[in-house]
Each structure stands twice: as structure tokens, then as C-alpha cells.
Amino acid sequence: MNGFNFHRAYSIARKEVMHILRDPFTLTLALGLPVMLVTFFGYAIDYEVRNIRLAVSDRDNGPAARRLKEVFSSSGYFRLVEPGPAGPVEMLDSGRAAAAVFIEPDFSKKIKGGGQAQAQFVLDGSDNSKAAAITGYLPGIQRAAQAKLAAQTIKEPFSAETRFLYNPELNSRWFIVPGLAAIIIGLLAILLTALNVAREWENGSMELLLSTPVRPLEIITGKLAPYGALVLAGVFFVYLVSRLVFGVPFEGSHLLYLAACLLFVTAALSQGLLISVITRQQQVAMQFSMITGLLPSMLLSGFIFPVESMPAFFQYLTMLLPPRWFMAAARGITLKGADLAELAVPFLALGLLSAGMLALAIKKFKTDLE
């Protein structure tokens, strides 16, 4: 029984709620961050590259060349620009075009004669993500052009067809928005807890708490529960927006998703507590939280950059980070409808990491009081 008293933990939790309600910074952060993230990642960031400025050097001016240009412009990805006197390469140099296509003088004639006509495609490789996206469009363009230009359909020995499961339109919002929960938990839960408990050390009120018969575990429970609830509210907000505004599907079990959130929230709150016990100052706690909370969630969780394409060292490092496993679980549940058996590894890892983090935080908190 260990003497844990719910009443005392509740008193602390109630006090925390009053602190939260009266602290403009906490409230703004807790409510503002989810709104900001959703707006930013939902609207501003689009991984599909559109309106690519394509400089065309048409030395053929024949009917086939015209049709080829039509294919480019009707794809929706490209906007054709006249190279002007300087020429397409100059356009690339000056950044006025991201790609150029050179159509050889006898293009139409060769096609009409059933020969092999050439068109050269030149890309600005300095922005590699853009270039990669553009290269991705080319096979489709080529197929469309061939169908349009060839007199009869070319018989291919086999045709490779790609079908995307789970996110058939490769809508980047579907991919990104479910991952926002990781950022919200990873940043908010850590930061708010660390700041709050550090403040209690800083102004000396921890001493007052400890001079009463309250137990460390009651302090921890009372302090963490309200912030956990606050952060889960933020996650719920993102869930609503992603379903209602962006139409992101939710294929899996809501209960499983909640379980993943709770595990990750526990890990994050514990991390925040640990930071506050170590730093004991709000300023330092803030910096620690940003570095150990935001950065892993943003960069090392697979939120934007796939874990698989990281250097080996970072791949192993991410295994120690709860956000990576939460990200895998969250995306698996929302987009693929994966069940617990399929997500055994992320859940196991998340469970172990959050239990470990909690145990470490409690131990450090207790020993520091003595």
C-alpha cells in the first residue's frame, strides 16, 4: 500500500490546474502550439512540388514538339517559360527556372518517320529535394508523351504499374499531420513539466511541500497529471483538425492510439521531471527541454526525415528515443490500421522507454529530496 494518498495528490493537481489557468505563458503555449503546428504543417508545407518553372528550348517548332510541351504544361506540375535570348541554361543559373528541356531540331520529323527522337531534360540539382520530386514526375510525363506522340501504341514487354497503399494520392498532409501529435507531446509535455517543477524549486515552494507529510510520489502524480491532460487535449485538437479539415483517414483502433499517446506522454512527462530535478532553474530547464524534447521529435523521429535514410549511428540512436517509436505506432494506426500484434515492436519499445524514464525520474526526484 506504500501510503500513497489520493487526497494529497489531488490537492496538488488542483493547485496545478489553477496555476495553469492563471499563467498566460503556459496557456498560450499549450493552446497556441497545436494550432500553429497544424496550420504550418497542414497548409504551409507541401511536399509536392508544383508550378515548376520549365525553360523550353524548342529548336524543332514542329507539331510533335508542341504536343510534348502540352504534356508538360497539362501535367499540373510544370509552368513553361520562354527562355528568352539568354537561353535555358542561363535561366537555370539565375534561378529563373528549375528545369529546362531541349527539343532537338528534327524532333517532329524523326517521330513522323518512326525514328528515335531526342529531348534532353536538365535539372537544377542544387535543391536536391526539389530535383528528386521532379525526377519522380518524369516517368509519368514520358509515358503520357509517348502515348500522345506515337502513331500506334508501343508494345512494351511488361508494364510496371505502381499503386500506393494507405495513402493512394501520396498526400503529404496524411503523412505529416498524424505525426504532429509526437511534436506536441514531445515538446509540450517535456517543457511544461520541466518549467513547472523547476519553478517550484526556484521559488523555494518545494521546501514547503516537503515540510508537510506529502510523499514524493504524491507530488509527482499531482504535478504530472494536469500537464498530461493538457497535452492530451492538444493531441485531441490535432486529431479533430486532421480528420475534419484535412480528411486524414483513421484506419486503426482509437483505443490503441490512446494507449500509444499515454505511453509517450508518460515518457515525456518523466523526461520533463528529470530535467527539472537536474537543472532546478526555469531558464536552463527551458533550454534542456528544447534540445532533448523538440529536436528528437522533429528530426530523429522520422517525422520528416525517414529513419531508414539516416546514418547508421543515428538509426541506432533513434531506438533510444520514444518519439521514434510513437511516430511509427501513430502512423501505423492512423494510416494502415495496424493492430497491436503488428505494432508489437514500437509498443514494446515505447513501454520500456517510458517505464525506464519514469523510474529514473522518480528515483532522481526522491534521492534529491534527501
Binding site: R8, Y10, I12, K15, M18, R22, D23, G204, T212, P213
Partner: protein, 308 residues
């Protein structure tokens, strides 16, 4: 009334690593007494109080606070004493009522009982503002009194106050000390640390601490008598050159203590004959008067003198 002392301390020591913060301190505090700890910063006053409130466990020695020891890690002591820490008083962003409710919740007080206590304590500290007042808006002295009320909500027999009036205006300090006397008037024991001499004068007994040791213990009068068995003179040079005379006085036989107090000097001697001999050569413009030593003189002699 129970005759057992409120607090009984024997050879209490605490070490932090190699540093001995409190070194074999022994004393006992009677019920209903105002017991003061006087000493410079770092003398071990706060550390002693933190042990006696169950916040720190001693490295060696024993203490009985309200009859309880440290066998349970200090939990029993925490239940029966009241403690007001030096740094923190109340949460500024909460109201008076919320702060007191929180204090009551931490001690699991029955709401009806807490309400009754709140009323009694408001009367005691003459608090007449609404419960919904934000603490941040209250003057420092009132805040301090409310903090004391919060520490006494569970009606403890022994109340520990760690520099309760630091940073409070002089008028509010006097008010606070009147409050302390009212509390001991109710039969409670108050143990208080201070570095204000005028506050120490108001204690029943004072424990003088220096570098972790208890160097003197007694009522203000007893401390003065033991530190200065002979007479003390206050010398006013009235603008006359004093350097030469002081230099000579420092070597005078029978001189116990010589210290500057603003424009004047206090000189204590072992006996009246020694004083008369030493002051015989006083410059004509200067005057000397026999005075009673103050606690500040005691402090200078016992604490600072030992460091010279």
C-alpha cells in the same frame, strides 16, 4: 501541562560530504517558549531547523521533536510541526483562499475543521481582506502573516520560523513579532531564526551559532552577562582625533572587547578598575559613558571575535 520539553536535541550533527554543517549541537526547548537561533549566514541555523522539521535526516546524534524522533524518516515530525521557510511564503498567482485550501489539502484536514481554523487564524493575525484576494496584491507583511497562518492550519504545538521577517518593512516586523508572542501566549512553542538583533532580544532564549557549532545559549540577559562580566563604556570622541588613543586602548590591560559603532566606540573591560585606568588618558573633548551591552555587542564578541 506536560512538563516534557517541546524539543530535545543531543549531539545533533549533519555532514554534507566532508563538510560538517551542524556539529554536535545539544539543547532543549521548553513548551511555550520563543527560542531563537542567532548567527551569521552559513552558521547552521537553517540546517538545524530543517533537521528538526524532518526535512533533513541527521548524520548522528538524536532529537525528539514533540516526543518524536527520526525513526520514520521524519514523517511523524512533519505531521505535528508547522514550518515557514525562509524563501517561500505563498503562491502569488493563487488567492488567499486557494493557498489555504492547498495547505489544508496537503495535510488532509477535514474541510469543516480547516474552515474553523482559518477563521481562528484570521482573527489571530487580524486579516480582514476577502478570501478571493490575490496574494500577489498583498503587502509583504500581510503575506508573511498569512504564510504563518498557512503553516499553523493544522494547529501544530511547535512552530518553526526560518527568518520570517527577512525583506519585510520594520513596522511589519514589529507586528509580526507581536503575533509570535500571541502564539506563544496560546501555549505554542516557537523556534525562530533571525539575524536581526532587535528580534533576538525578544526571544526567551537564544542559541548563538557559529560555523555549525552552538557557542552560547541563554536568555538575552544571560548571554550579555556571560559575554561581558565587567563594565562597558561607550566612548564618543566628539570629533577629536581618536586614532592614537584607540591604538593605545587596544593594548590596555583588562580590555575584553573594542569595537566601532558608527562614530562611537564600545569598550568592554574585565573589571571597573581596568576601565578607569584605561580611560584615564581620554582626550579632553571626548566623553565616555557606562552602558549596558547590547546583543549586538555579544554577537560581535562571541561570533566575530572568535573569527579574528
Amino acid at each position: 501541562m506536560n512538563a516534557a520539553p517541546a524539543v530535545e536535541v543531543k549531539d545533533l550533527s549533519i555532514k554534507f560530504g566532508d563538510f560538517t554543517a551542524v556539529d554536535k549541537v545539544s539543547f532543549s526547548v521548553n513548551r511555550g517558549e520563543i527560542f531563537g537561533f542567532l548567527g551569521a549566514n552559513g552558521a547552521g541555523k537553517t540546517t538545524t531547523i530543517r533537521m528538526l522539521t524532518g526535512l533533513l535526516l541527521p548524520s548522528s546524534g538524536s532529537a525528539l521533536v514533540g516526543g518524536l524522533g527520526f525513526g520514520d524518516g521524519g514523517r511523524g515530525i512533519k505531521k505535528i510541526v508547522g514550518y515557514m521557510s525562509q524563501k517561500f511564503t505563498l503562491y502569488n498567482d493563487l488567492t488567499v483562499g486557494e493557498n489555504l485550501d492547498f495547505a489544508a489539502g496537503l495535510r488532509k484536514l477535514d474541510p469543516a475543521y480547516a474552515k474553523k481554523r482559518r477563521k481562528e487564524l484570521f482573527e489571530l493575525i487580524a486579516f480582514n481582506k476577502p478570501l478571493s484576494s490575490k496574494v500577489a496584491a498583498l503587502p509583504g507583511g500581510i503575506k508573511q502573516e498569512l504564510a504563518l497562518a498557512a503553516a499553523m492550519l493544522h494547529d501544530p504545538e511547535i512552530v518553526f520560523l526560518d527568518e520570517p521577517t527577512s525583506g519585510v518593512a520594520p513596522a511589519s516586523r514589529a507586528r509580526f513579532w507581536a503575533l509570535i508572542r500571541r502564539i506563544t501566549g496560546l501555549g505554542k512553542t516557537v523556534i525562530v531564526t533571525t539575524h536581526y538583533m532587535d528580534e533576538a532580544e525578544q526571544c526567551g532564549r537564544i542559541a548563538l551559532m557559529r560555523t555549525g557549532r552552538l557557542i552560547a545559549l541563554g536568555s538575552p540577559e544571560e548571554l550579555k552577562a556571560s559575554a561581558f562580566p565587567g563594565p562597558m563604556a561607550e566612548i564618543d570622541f566628539n570629533g577629536a582625533g581618536s586614532a592614537a588613543f584607540i591604538a593605545g586602548l587596544e593594548k590596555a590591560p583588562g580590555l575584553l572587547e573594542l569595537s566601532p559603532h558608527g562614530m562611537r566606540w564600545h569598550a568592554a573591560f574585565a573589571a571597573k578598575a581596568a576601565m578607569d585606568a584605561a580611560l584615564a588618558g581620554l582626550p579632553p573633548a571626548a566623553s565616555a559613558a557606562l552602558i549596558k551591552p547590547s546583543l549586538e555587542d555579544v554577537f560581535i564578541r562571541l561570533v566575530e571575535g572568535a573569527e579574528r
